[in-house]
């Protein structure tokens, strides 16, 4: 619950002065994400506390080191939640960490991503200057949208101090139903239901079944359940949480875990030689988890030939590329942008791309 802004600013200023690389660290719950961390650890988890929460305006502002669990608890007291359903991956997870990683849960295609819910931020750039962008209102087009740019930038552009988010109400009722389907059938089934206006907030497939989460008023949930005509799945709450947290048995594996983001209707035969059991489809087809020892190049290539992109999500060689490579003009733009925020290159060097 402390304000550590002054100390953090001092630390950044001195790193800027002597060119010391910093590893920005919140709860450390996602330290395995991205490329190998380097630099002196700068702990921001102490900079914590909810600063403003207006349930009737759907807006919350908290310091970046605030635990996600604390935010979830405060929201829950007013029947609200974080719209992008963020994965924690450990109890220590902080707001700053999940925004910096830009990670979203099973609800993402239906409700929006981490960056979609960012309204504003206070941050320190690589020169040690404290700046504010965006704000606490839902519509704001004053100046460049730096607050959303910070989402998913893996701490390479600046140190997040405070984040303002749009939050959402919990739906009144929630059910999970399943239909039997292999992966090929599942893609078609999920596409079909995604084209209807039914209140579906998550769809996933494990090769045997398609899972639908329905959230709405009780009568709308009942009606949708009838329409899909699937089998009731009583353990839905746990299923979606375990999918979000990678605690389903599928994820219990020593091989590298890949995330392939593809247009949702992409056929399942993405990499024909991979056995069905090594896939898990989420986001209604838009996110495909793969555990595989195949060479990274083959997986990057398979995803890009399907108009998507692959990420070496967990495990594997973190010293090499974990995110799909960028075309030269785009990479050059990334470098200039990085320089504009962090001219000396002190923040999380190499965490996203080797030379960034």
């Amino acid at each position: 619950m402390a304000d550590r802004e002054a100390q953090l600013q001092k630390a950044v200023c001195s790193a800027h002065a002597d060119g010391t690389a910093l590893e920005i660290c919140g709860g450390g719950s996602k330290r395995w994400y991205g490329r190998e961390p380097s630099g002196e650890r700068l702990d921001v988890s102490g900079h914590a506390g909810i600063l403003n929460y207006q349930p009737t305006e759907l807006v919350l502002t908290a310091r970046a080191g605030t635990k996600l669990s604390e935010i979830a608890k405060a929201l829950d007291e007013h029947g609200q939640r974080l719209g992008f359903d963020p994965p924690y991956f450990a109890e220590e997870a902080t707001l700053g960490g999940v925004i910096a990683c830009g990670l979203s849960g099973p609800r993402r295609p239906y409700a929006g991503s981490a960056r979609d819910f960012v309204l504003g931020c206070k941050m320190i750039n690589g020169c040690g200057e404290v700046m504010r962008f965006g704000g606490e209102v839902m519509k704001n087009v004053a100046g460049f949208d730096v607050a959303r740019l910070m989402a998913g930038s893996l701490g390479t552009l600046g140190l997040l101090l405070e984040i303002s988010l749009k939050v959402l109400p919990h739906r009144i009722a929630e059910h999970t139903v399943t239909l039997d389907a292999d992966f090929t059938e599942a893609i078609g089934i999920m596409g079909h239901w995604a084209s209807t206006p039914l209140p579906i907030t998550a769809m996933a497939a494990d090769g045997r079944r398609v899972y639908f989460r329905i959230c709405a008023t009780p009568s709308a949930v009942r009606k949708t359940t009838c329409e899909i005509n699937g089998e009731m799945f009583d353990d839905g709450l746990r299923f979606w949480k375990e999918l979000r947290e990678h605690q389903l048995p599928f994820f219990d594996d020593d091989r590298p875990l890949w995330r392939l983001s593809t247009p949702p209707a992409t056929p399942h035969s993405l990499i024909p030689e991979i056995p069905h059991a090594d896939w898990f489809i989420g986001w209604g087809g838009a996110q495909r988890w793969l555990k595989s020892d195949l060479p990274a190049e083959a997986i990057f290539h398979a995803a890009s030939s399907a108009a998507g992109h692959a990420t070496l999500f967990r495990g594997g060689d973190r010293g090499s590329d974990v995110f799909a490579s960028l075309p030269a003009p785009l990479l050059a733009l990334h470098k200039r942008l990085k320089e504009s925020f962090d001219p000396v290159g002190i923040f999380n060097p190499g965490r996203m791309y080797r030379d960034l």
């Binding site: 207006q54 349930p55 009737t56 305006e57 759907l58 807006v59 007013h78 609200q80 830009g102 295609p109 929006g112 979609d116 750039n125 962008f133 704000g135 209102v137 839902m138 519509k139 704001n140 087009v141 004053a142 100046g143 460049f144 949208d145 730096v146 959303r148 740019l149 989402a151 552009l157 109400p169 919990h170 995604a194 084209s195 209807t196 206006p197 209140p199 709405a216 008023t217 009568s219 709308a220 009606k223 593809t262 247009p263 949702p264 209707a265 838009a286 108009a307 998507g308 992109h309 960028l326 075309p327 003009p329 785009l330 733009l333 990334h334 200039r336 942008l337 320089e339 504009s340 996203m352």
Partner: protein, 488 residues
Amino acid sequence: MSTAWNKPELIAALSGILPASAILSEPEELAPYECDGLSAYRRLPGLVLLPETVAQAQAILKLCHARKVAVIARGAGTGLSGGALPREDAVILSLARFNRILDIDAHNRTATVEPGVRNLAISEAVSHLGLYYAPDPSSQIACSIGGNVAENSGGVHCLKYGLTVHNVLGLKLLSVDGEFIDLGGQALDAPGYDLLALMHGSEGLLGIIVEVTVKLLPKPEMARVVLASFGNVEMAGNAVASIIAAGIVPAGLEMMDHLAIKAAEAYAHAGYPLDAEAILLCELDGTEASVSDHIETIQSLMAAAGALESRVSGDEAERLRFWAGRKATFPAVGRLAPDYYCMDGTIPRRRLAEVLARIDAWSAEYGLPVANVFHAGDGNMHPLILYDANKPGELEKTEEFGGRILELCVEVGGAITGEHGVGVEKLDQMCVQFGAAELEQFFALKAAFDPTGLLNPGKAVPTLHRCAELGRMHVHAGQLPHPELERF
């Protein structure tokens, strides 16, 4: 900035890229481009170029880059902050002829279109599939999707469906020197920095958009509107708060004040109660079951908040009639006075009553009536200041009044623009919204995309020098000695 403006030489060079009919250079051809939707600011452009292909646009950019000629992108010209205001020593790059829908992908629920395609044309083109494009700025029959991205346009359905940034999946850009840059696409959450988000609302300062891939949504099964009237705006504001607190996110939630109601009713005959100080229009959409459930709850919340009456649209015709009044507010208010000035600021909704009271007091002080329409769900207000431009000094007075409203928005924790952009109109208020560090960061960011500052120079971000000259961080637009002069 342009240092080498040589019009005949430029025309000669451009004629190797474009047919003569796509290069406008005579004053009478240039006149229609002298302003955008903010007609108080006018200036003849040096040249207007109307390319039809990406290759032509690319060649134009390379040529202008080599000659250090500034380029101002323009879509349909419906912008309300002067973002497309020309310069005599710059070219207007019109994207109006990029009006093709390139691909409709029903399976992935996306449409890929050229930037000059009109907002509404997208929904019309996919309607037979049961799909639509959600953001609906009030100019949607005319405004182009490229302009929507440049301004991050909103609309009356933002609270539930988000802004343009939430509904665009991919962009193809040309950089200032004509390089292709692909951002996002049909797959979600592309690797690298979220430049797709950054492009939204960047007002033509970072790149030229040549292709847009949007997300399409299934059309809701049904939509109904509750029209409720109140004895004062504070009660209407409380009703909005109680709806949100009840866990309902309506598709649209609009408030109008007495003057706006009166004007709209006289113009559109929507059936608005003329004795009300405020009305709320609350639209619910989705499946039949959820809409009926929510309508009931909303009606009882309205009653509990002290509504004088509330009516539910019985059929689609009545729903459209309820909206017709709101959608006609601007032209309706336009009949009350020779001119009106539409402001665009956002505030935390809990400060609404206080902000409207301050606006009322200023309205009396300036002798300029104000009609208020308010996107109540998301805090975006549009006070319409009525004035007469033919009366000497009245435009300046109006601008000063408008500037004070925007600064009040910042003071209560809001923003100087919710959806119309900064353009040239709100450069001074940017000095109030942001400090020196932020403004310098904006310039550094801009330089990363456009090192020589050739894309839409002088718009959206004021120089520190300007802020300092105008009284540091607190200035009023109308106090400028020569408002007709360039404001950079």
